[in-house]
Amino acid sequence: MKKAIWIFALIALFFLGDRVGGFILKSLTEKSQFRYSRLYEQQIDADILLVGNSRGLMFFQPHIEEKTSRSTFNLSYNGMPIDLAEALVGDYLEKNKAPELMLLDVTMCDRINNQLTTEFNTYTPYSSRLRNLIRDTSITISNATILSHLYRYNSEVFQRSLTYLNKSDEDWLLDRRILQNIADDAVNYPEYNIDIPDMAMPALNRIIQTAKSKGVKVKLVINPYFPDFADRIMNLEAFKSTVEKATGEQVHNYAKSVTDIDGFGDYQHLNKSGARLYIDELIKDGIFGSLEAQETMHLK
């Protein structure tokens, strides 16, 4: 009898602590200023929606907002695959006012990232799209989330939401300069090709169609790479053509648009100063639309 009580007490205590802990962590997530917490907890009224993986963070919001006087919302996350982006963009467009423009870095179509997808467990209480995606990705993880609520918060995504508990995440971007030896060695980097998983083009197409159906203009870009590194990507042009053919949209190629080494954090990422140069380039090319009126407004 004592043994049965012992076992019952252990199970009861585990679930009690798990649920209480889960509730506290859920409350913290909801209070966070992290982008996905805001996506699910607040009404967002952004003019420009920015989408990408870690390279999408180069869409440096403070600079875009300063230069265009338009509000932005960035859905990008390190290593984000396009199927996850599809769920998040879908939720964004469903819950919020449609933006004027969606700017998407298409190099995020290069991967499947099931691990990251399951890390978005943290936000499953608010999104049936995420729940379904995670269930399709790993039924075990989906079930584990039901069993343990603490497990839902066992992710870097949650840790980031804690980091941005009381501060904005809009300037989330590398602030370091690439090490000189790494920069010098870029020419020796092995040649490689961008792979496109089977699911990528259909998912990208669905994102574009959903956005267009809400009246959102869609612009596709290839964000900058470290110039010598960009030369090691053997199929960049072919990749661009594939995306254009699959979507019927023009892809603006900015892969080699930033040449200042000080503007890079590593081969694939601009730092803040590089991002400013890149955004200026986008503005100059009219990617954000005609800016004359806005600049005047900004000067006022």
Partner: protein
Amino acid sequence: MIFNSIAFLVFIGIFLPIYFNLKERGQIWLCLVGSYFFYGWWDWRFLSLIMFSTCIDYFVGLKMENENEQASRKRLLIISMVVNLGFLAFFKYFNFFIGSFDAAMKSVGVDVGYNTLNIVLPVGISFYTFQSMSYTIDVYFKKIKVEKDFVKFATFISFFPQLVAGPIVRAIDFLPQFSAGARKFNWDRITSGLGQMLWGFFKKVAVADSLAPFVDQCFAAPDGFSSLHLIIGIVFYSFQIYCDFSGYSDIAIGLARILGFDFPDNFKTPYFSRNFSEFWTRWHISLSSWLRDYLYIPLGGNRGGGFGSYFFTAIALIIPVFLSGWYWLILVYGVVFFFIFRFAKKDIRNKVEVFTYMNLVITMFLGGLWHGASWAFAVWGYLHGTYLIVQRLIGPYYKKLVQTLRIPRPIVVAGDIAMVYFFTCLAWVYFRAPDFDIANQFIMGIASFEGMSFGSIINKFMVAKGVILIATLLFVEIADFKFDFSSLIKTNPVFRVISFAAILWVIAFFGSFGANSFIYFQF
């Protein structure tokens, strides 16, 4: 099958209820069948290897008992050694030997053109081979009685909780436990075993597997990271390997306890060691004590040496010369040994001391190679051998210095622990790096002190999580040392429930559930 997998949960869920409802004989049979199933789950073809080793050592043992003539007993021991070490040599070291020989020959301009073979390393072969050899050696020296019951002997060799990654349990400790009668469902044993298993899972699933991605990143291309990043990388690796391996040992020991068997500890907070001799009495104790008893002491230990000491020292020192192509090392060896022999000639105590150094280097060198067929492991062994020698050389002077300067004891203790940890980490770089170039890059990267700001760290979230987990681990280990948690778990049901639930919460919140394999499986 690995402990941190669903397959194992199902296996043990079926195994335990049957086990506790059988009589003694049935339980031993079930352990044997279960062990073969557990091992065969990974690759059934290698079951024949275990079975063959088992049969050889079983019959060698029986035959030895009936032989009174020392020469015949020795022959039998040699047969067992040749078979066991032959399997190990072929499956683990064949490509290494061939490759090293080929490289050595090429370095002197001879191209022998030997090809390596595509050999799969049977998981756990180093562990069960050493376990099996300890039996025949102990029988030869008449330290233990021969086990006549084949089923018990086969279960001793293949016992699934510790089959693939230890601890290496000696026959003298293990075999008598088979005759202790049927194992009843013992609540105290189950709760204490479960506690140790849970703690092992925490170490493996929460700590080791959470640190692994950061460490992998650092060792993949160290020249891409700042000094601080690499320092954190090696600190994380030191805890990753400790938690991975000691976590496995905890699970194995806890599981064995549930099944009614007591195994000795394999780790005792090794990073709190104050010197390297102490480190080796706290780290992988079952291997270090095996090497001490079956290699270091037979070589002469700290009492002298003979042909074996000369022979193995020569091998340990000469082969790297050919492989590295650093022939100038021969000149260095010549000069060093000239002075060593002069020193040894002066006094018999000096001679004994020199033999002790040789035996230490040989033991640590072979201990390094036991881990894997690579010169990086040998370097790791050399480094630890060197540490032990330097410690013997300067130890007395260091003690005198501390006494003379009257340095407060807490500072001395902290300094000793920090020093041992620092040099242990240095050796870990060679243990973990895929090759020497990467290892050297790693060390040079740290030594450059380029990028010591927190901003130079690439994945701060992994660092934050790692630091929290390591702090939790150290806190519990220190608290356990002070308050003896194991006893509290046995005696205090409230403490037991709370601590078990707390470990489960931490695993749920921090655990990495990718069913990652244990590092020591590769050895």
